[in-house]
Symmetry: D3
Subunit: 338 residues, 6 copies
């Protein structure tokens, strides 16, 4: 079943130092446009759905470049409005081996998205047209105006019978000092409205202040996530555990809690080319599995494979098709495809 | 005579689309760091002086890259402080023929320089060490705090026997609505302190509100500039007239008013590779001529040749040596230098 | 008035040697996707209309890349079908000065577009939705099947009240030996259906076999074009004369014949960066002028300025907005836009 | 002993997306020219022999670029003829980790080589000058005309006392539906003429329709290859087994059957940079070993090392010298060579 | 008539800063291999002759790269020997407009060519095989050993009935202080052996010490060149006058003196992309004209057109074919060639 | 404690083939400037000290580029003199997997540094200003003049109370035949003056001719290094053992001998991006540890981490800060730093 999906969120300009030089060593940058909403909307377009993005972009050369880029990704521009003066940016220096990749943000607080007012969006119309809306904890961290927009739009979608996906995606940098305390009430409002939630045990403990006596991450998940699902009445909670090695490889284990039952994927280890945005590929896999009514085990495996593949793709935004992902779900890797 | 020269101003990150694509067409950017102060300080270093820059840059990867770049240009980093969070940026799309180049600013208001407070700089120490300080109308446009810094530092330099250069460099975008009215009192304060001023007839008419019945630009200059020099007691006023053609060539005529006499250069026509920052090369030529006590005609010719050469150099920042410029002052262009 | 515009034609992959090397000297290529239909549809999208393309692209990596690229240009993909195995290609080596640019075609005859059958397109549905359809003489040259598609689609559009634009665009290479003779009946069928035609005196003489005793090109135009308009009952006939210089500059003069009257633009001379596709910018300007009901003189000047600007833009496909073109219609070229 | 070696086959243009982007993400391509015959001829040139290629290339810019490239590789152009209109092409998107590399062919059926007629080549003259000729199953798959050329040229070489190498290289894509059935008679004709054959157990089973009760690949080889050698009277049959891992590494084991005895190399595991064409490096190693009368064990180890090194070299075509390969035959890898 | 042509001379590695940056601004270089001998041999290969080069290159990675590059240019490597340790290099910074291009030499004195001994070459064999040998004044400037090689090889060619071309190509940098005095006897020895000489009035005055009362360059040529031809018994003397403009254009006038008569071409003005090596294109045109027995006027026009085209080609080495040059001899420049 | 540190040595131009092509395959090079002295001086600048370099560079475009690059690295140019004609160069082809990286030197013997005379440096002034001087065995290998300079400068530093660091860094290529015999007396002179020495058991055995019955490298170190320290009265001797794997990873174990006690680090394994210069990062770590009076175990761990990180950085020259290195000393590698 193909669905109309809309993500609400900021478009960021990614300015990446090519290869493995530092910003202080290089003289060129590769640029593209991304953001959690962009990634989700585009990934689901590749999976056969119709993806929209609701955001604001400036009426200048940077805004024009953003829109062109989003169109290239297949995102429908119906709900993209133009205004304000800035696009949020981040500079990316690729790590190597024991040296981590590094992100430096710029120009974010003043972005068109973060300074837009709610009246500028046609929430009512969008709520009627779309079946699923995606929100993200990064957006929730921005400012009061944006938070109000998120919540009222989520409410409108619910009232029109749509579903709400909420990815906790807590970023300490965005919330500042005493961030968990500031964040909790806003997260709780979103959780009460959400049908599908991306989170793990750390979110439960740190944002929601829940406790567990377990020490292993998997045990903590098993202890805490059911309580979250029950308290906030959430249909599906899914998440991942990531393991990072010094040889440019990572490993991922996915889980999903639905109908009072857990499903865990195997731990998949894989070489990493571009890690940023891979979490959004996992989320897209979960959403797609739910839309296509896959069995939970298939959904989690699909989402992990989607996430794994996204680490092998340049850029933040997943580009794999359903058949690419099904192929990656088998354990063998093939020779050159001709 | 070699001199210690300091420029006070913002460092901008220049993000240039390579070749002639628009930002919406390309996927890579060339970056460098510049700004009027950077250009002046570096240009005078190449001419044999010791160039300093007083500015503030953030303590992150972008700040590190800026400092490395300034060091590469030969600028002494003694008076560069680190703090704040942002570097102002501009995106440059190269024009071609009848299509003008286009600049899009980003992240400027919140830059480390524009949000720094005056106490962070050691104005007193700097005023003792340097012989000449350079200020620019772009900096004057930023905000009240920066304006206070400029004026108090100019005063300190004067009190220590140093000379003040002020480049009017009025940019309508920076001053906003009713800009001339807002700008005038600040410009006047700077002019009263300045020994060398870069301006032309438009500045006199629009910023200072002066009138002339002349219609030709050269006649207007002759009419207005002596009055400015007299009113504000300025030793040297210099400027240029630029003529822009549709075939990727420009022409420049320079002038200087000193000791109640005008000197005009010939109108030099030349092919344009990179126009930005070329005005700062002219200013550097005037400063250098004054420091070396050239005759006015030699100074203006030198400054025009410096400006002309800067149009043939990639990047905002002039890199020509004194001997490069002397060679360019002759009318013939040579074959390959071996 | 914004209009739904559809172009019917092939998408070509442009593989350009960067800079000025020959294919035998270089080792990298820049690629993009274009074609007369692509250029027209995209150009009119930038001018505020809604542009569609009807074409066929293969279901492989090259087809995927084509579709992404067309979406980036803002073209609506509703009528793009997938099938067949190939995309036509051309290799471009940039000329310089006295050395002409050189195009080498590859893989064209077997392209998905040229091997598609008419049943694959939904001509009836398209004819209902669109107001103007654009066809081109290059497409007419391909093969009998494509010719049948063109003509039956043109007929369907006419029957639905839409307008037909036909660009003669005769390419000797495509028609082969005794090309004019082969081409004439097909051109005549298209001319009888067309409302707006792009042609000049050479088309009239060579394709349609008309004669004139005039020797000057402008005089020949004045002699022949009215006869063409009358015979085939064409509302608007427009075209250009191009003059090529050895210093990387060209000149263009545009003309339009409408309501039994001629309008000629001035001859505009300009530096040339990328000549390919510039003719389509002129056509787009004529179409836009007609849609917006500009006076003929304004339409021709607008079209010439659009064509002139397209020579300053990288790639085949025009990207200028209406305001860019209005600005270029003045004779002066500005300094850097900030 | 240095030998004159000629390969008969098509030159392909390789158009590779740089780095790890997909064709739909990138905008530049690296190009080079290769093909099994090119690889064999060039590899053996590096090993001290005199390599020729018999092929047809068009008389246009792409053909000129091909010839320049082949000359650069050291291939003698005596038997390269010019004619026809096309060069076969393939687009290569590099895989990463679990994501396989992907090849998309274009323009192949209509290539100058595949449309050339046999009279255009001087088979008789070539058969006199060369000691060894190399043919490949890819060429055999093309069309009847090319098959006739192959067979008659092989016959001529045999009659002049030369040796024939045949690499089975069965590609399902080229033979289409019921490919094995179509291919078998042609393969058999070539096998009857061949002195050295590259094949493995799959070729014996699928193309030749042989059966074995063994289940392990090595056991199947031991069971089937001697029967092939006997039936078709082949001096040397050699091949490899490849193992593909998800961490960008492969492993290879080589084998050779000669004088009724098998030699197997160790399984060598190695990091993979560019996998395409590495099989041709192995073939070249076998040919070189036979020409230099190495002991079988040395020949197989040499060929595996040649194959292994070819995975560490950019491009399809092997460039290693004999001493490079001898060094790689030891198990230790050295520090930087200075 | 196609001829075997050999040039004796050094191969230089050209390391060019891409675009218009200075070496101090950039971080990448484009490299290629050239030299007067390389240029002549390659240019005449494109014109249908068989070009050889006699030189020495080291047995290391740089030498391997040189040989590959020469092969790519179509130069036959029969007389290229390997030995010594270095390749001469030059760094090229492209000028723009009034800023001249700049060449910085490195590693030249110790190059394999300049340290090779004469016994290493098989002069006797080469003298038998070739019809024309080309020498250059740059080589003559290197050292005594190289000079002895040149002269003895020229003598051997003459004794075998071959023709000697000598290009004066005096470079002040190479001869050092009192250069003309040192150079004269060596130049005279070469002139006595030469059949075709490239020189102009400055060579006659400065190297040979001849005098004229004329002041115009053309008049000086007319006055001095016949005397040179007579004294040294030279069949053909040819040369050019170059005029350099500040708008990236040059102009050339060619002349030839043969059978006691002068032929002068028109002065051709053209845009300049890459000036280095263009003189060798002119020389190649003269040699080709003589070999093909063109009328003098056709030869000079052909040579000027060859030289003009070489300014539009990237790299030192001419790549134009005879038909390219014939096309450039007409005054009109065409539109895109399709 | 921050210290003034000076390194005496040659600046080399590094010309690196990008990616993994060989010099014969590519057409562009990345260039930078390095050398042991450059690396040490720059690395210690990043660690908070004030780094100087004493060297000679030519007064041409290459020398200008070198100086700009050193300034960018933060090196103070006070003791860099200009003169001579050449910069030593090396070409670097990156290895991959089992294929080693390869370095080809050029232009070294004639470099400005190696042809400078001692009077050109102000050793006396430098000896007064600096606290630590660094010398290297590569410099010691150059020629007698350079050796005299090294020794007399080392002596002057000692007499002014400064400390001498000497890195044995024996390169067989530089010393030629019977190198160890030639080198020994010069090494001994340096060792008698040195306070901190970088060496391992091979230096003791081969250069100093010492013997041991041990067979394991670590045992040999334990046997020989104390004897060296005692004989030459050296405070600190440190070194590494490197293990090279075929999968693009290396391992390092560091050791330090001080106050009659050994400290060994763990063996750290890590992925390798750019191996050249990493030894200098280790040296810098040892020097920094000593200057900051770290405990020996901390110093060795710090130095190994510095060395390990340097393998993950593009270019020869370390750029890590103290906090980067402290972070890398923990065993875990983090996710993207935001």
């Amino acid at each position: 079943m193909s669905e109309n999906i809309l993500a609400f969120g900021e478009v960021m300009m990614r300015l990446q130092v090519p290869g493995h030089e530092l910003l202080q060593q290089a003289s060129t940058l590769n640029y593209s446009f991304s953001g959690t909403g962009v990634n989700i909307s585009s990934a689901l377009t590749r999976l056969g759905h119709k993806g929209y993005l609701m955001t604001t972009l400036p009426n200048n050369a940077i805004g024009d470049a953003s829109v062109s880029y989003l169109q290239k990704l297949g995102i429908h521009s119906t709900f993209i409005r133009r205004g304000g003066e800035n696009v949020g940016m981040y500079f990316l220096e690729n790590g190597f081996g024991m040296r981590s990749s590094r992100v430096t943000y710029a120009n974010r607080k003043e972005s068109s998205f973060n300074t837009a007012t709610g009246e500028m969006y046609n929430f009512a119309e969008a709520a009627k047209q779309i079946g699923i809306v995606h929100f993200c904890g990064i957006t929730l961290a921005m400012n009061d105006s944006v938070r109000v927009q998120m919540k009222s739009f989520a409410k409108a979608v619910k009232e029109n019978g749509g579903k709400v996906v909420f990815d906790c995606n807590y970023r300490p940098l965005n919330w500042g000092e005493n961030g968990y305390g500031k964040a909790k009430p806003h997260y709780e409002e979103m959780l009460y409205m959400a049908d599908i939630v991306m989170m793990n045990e750390k979110d439960a403990m740190h944002i929601l202040g829940m406790n567990t006596v377990k020490e292993q991450r998997v045990e903590q998940v098993k202890d805490l996530i059911p309580a979250v699902a029950k308290k906030y009445d959430i249909d599906v909670i899914a998440g991942t555990h990531r393991y990072i090695n010094g040889d440019n490889s990572h490993a991922l284990q996915g889980f999903m809690y639905k109908n009072q039952a857990f499903t865990f994927s195997e731990i998949k280890r894989f070489a990493v080319l571009d890690r940023i945005g891979a979490g959004d590929a996992y989320t897209s896999g979960i959403i797609h599995g739910e839309l296509k009514r896959f069995e939970p085990a298939k959904t989690v495996d699909f989402a992990v494979a989607a996430g794994m593949l996204a680490h092998s793709i340049v850029g933040d935004t997943p580009v794999s098709t359903e058949s690419d992902i099904f192929r990656a779900m088998t354990d063998s890797v093939g020779d050159v495809e001709r």
